[in-house]
Symmetry: C2
């Protein structure tokens, strides 16, 4: 097995597939990157932690074919530090050992038998849809922060992806707050399909997706495959039932608030400096085009912010977790957000202005 | 107590004195910043962890005088997040409580009785010298990474500062490597003065010193005081005897090497990727204008780098800790460095070209 490849191409490719390398040491070979030199197709690279797998093809000058698995951390560290020149890669496939040469640098790395590397799963009888990479990235970014970290309820640690009636919808909730983001699809398939993607899959997709290009999604029963920009990402889905959130989405509201997102973000952040010393609960009062945000008056101090808003409807007072409001205000980039309130025991709803593609709910805190 | 101050000035001043705030919670008042409003002088701020103290005066519009101590983390968090406008500060000195108002933001913070805040120590009968801030910064940066972290030998956790015969010299060592950096002083006082500055003092000085302006150093027996750019930094000195390093400084060498610093840095860093999997020991061979750097041939792999150098003298082979070489190569910014070698059991010496103001020794590793 021998090939030459530019340092830049090799380093970039390793950075892509390395995201799927296992951080746990249960199977040593999974700490590695699979490399296969094919005269017809170039260098094939893949990595997997058995939940997530990423594969990538990169152009290389293949001299002799072969395959080997090398420890990802050593390989990526070395390639990143090599000069911007051509790298010669030669592997002794009996000893599972690779030799890398670049100008006057020479490295030997011990690896693993490539035949023992697991195959990435196939997605059978998939539901197939296509959308813009930037759109999928928006869907993911708008929901992924709402996933739960509580491993006793696995379904909540992921994001629900639903394809139905020409729409794609992503939802995540930890039962105290919920994000719902949706998009109209061009020519989606018949029927409804629903899977739960692991939180880590959402994070890695968000890292790898550019705004450019299209992504093809093949949704099976146990696996979902994403094809974009030459990258193949295969993710296991989380088994279990995602909660029926439709019933908690408020159908109406009493008071509507139009507020500058950045003003609200900065004010909540300041009040939170005092509130988080207690339990990070802030009180929001809305009355006559003014919003007052306060912390509880505690041993540590007190904070009060006043913001100009546009409000319609009766006065409102609600207590919520400041962190839940900060999370969503940081992710959106709209100038203005809309808040809808019913009463102190009902969820606060946050939406975009002039768009129905995003709904965020925060449950109130009773004190 | 009441004053107004610009958010920018207040935030900048807090950042300066906050560096001396205690990170331990042994005395709650030491987690605070002392604030004193004086009609004649503005706002006086200070903080100390009893080893290090920093004070600073900042311009403020003083309405009524008074003093209070406020928790540094709350105060700095709030001031940093406030808008770029004027802040009104009003304190209730009976309740030890301050109220901050800025546009439509209002904060109350509970604090401490300023009378209980410790005085920064005076430096009696000091030895006084003056030098450029940039020069002191260089002296510190060139030695501070060589301090020891072993608390059982307190003298080695600091840097020795010696004023003698018109020179200032800083030295740090962990017994496996040593940095010595020196500078000629204009008009230094008679006699020799020697103190050990704590490692943390060196770090904080390095953070606060700009390249501009002059620093006045008052060296007493137990404390050293640095005055620069309106900042007063008082540091306790470490008691104990600094080792007599003069005897380990090699008087001569057998082989001299002139090498590009950046080439050497990048090569050692790459070999270290493999070497650190073992014990981070690298072998350096010098012969006929070539330097070969290799890792041990271990279970994990092998690395070899070859660099063009200019060498005079017999062939040399030495094993050293790669980290010790990387530390110094990262800190220097010369294009070229000089290595002097005696033999495999003698220290490796690293110097600047055309300057005697820096010496770095690394002890060899025996294998």
């Amino acid at each position: 097995m021998e090939f030459t490849i530019s340092q830049k191409d090799f380093s970039r490719s390793i950075n892509i597939v390395q995201r799927a390398v296992s951080s746990k040491n249960t199977m040593p070979i999974l700490t590695g990157i699979y490399l296969e030199a094919r005269k017809d197709k170039g260098l094939h690279m893949k990595a997997t932690d058995l939940e997530l797998g990423i594969e990538y093809w990169v152009k290389a000058d293949i001299i002799t074919e072969g395959k080997i698995v090398l420890p990802a951390s050593h390989l990526s560290g070395i390639i990143r530090e090599l000069p911007d020149d051509n790298i010669n890669f030669k592997a002794d496939l009996d000893k599972y050992e690779a030799e890398l040469t670049c100008l006057s640098s020479r490295f030997k790395i011990k690896g693993f038998d490539a035949d023992e590397f697991p195959q990435l799963p196939e997605v059978n009888i998939p539901h197939k849809i296509t959308l813009n990479c930037g759109d999928l990235n928006r869907l993911i970014d708008e929901v992924k922060f709402s996933t739960s970290t509580d491993q006793t309820q696995p379904a909540l640690t992921g994001g629900s992806m639903v394809i139905d009636s020409g729409k794609i919808r992503m939802v995540a909730t930890n039962t105290y707050r919920l994000s719902l983001s949706s998009l109209d699809l061009d020519g989606s398939p018949e029927g409804k399909k629903e899977v739960i993607l692991p939180g880590n899959t959402l994070s890695e997709l968000s890292h790898l997706l550019d705004d450019d290009g299209e992504v093809e999604i093949l949704i099976g029963d146990n696996y979902v495959r994403f094809n974009f920009n030459g990258i193949v990402l295969v993710s296991r889905v989380i088994e279990g039932q995602f909660p029926n959130y439709q019933q908690v989405l408020p159908k109406e509201y009493n008071t509507k608030v139009r507020v500058d997102r950045n003003n609200l973000l900065r004010s909540v952040r300041r009040v939170s400096l005092i509130a988080r010393l207690d339990s990070n609960v802030i009180s929001i009062s809305v009355k006559d085009n003014k919003m007052i945000i306060t912390s509880q008056d505690s041993e540590e101090g007190f904070a009060r912010e006043e913001i100009e808003i546009e409000s319609q409807g009766p006065e409102q007072n609600i207590n919520i977790d400041a962190g839940y409001l900060l999370d969503v205000l940081k992710v959106l980039n709209d100038d203005v957000v809309i808040l809808e309130l019913i009463g102190p025991l009902n969820p606060l709803t946050l939406k975009k202005e002039n768009s129905d593609d995003f709904i965020y709910l925060v449950m109130p805190v009773r004190r």
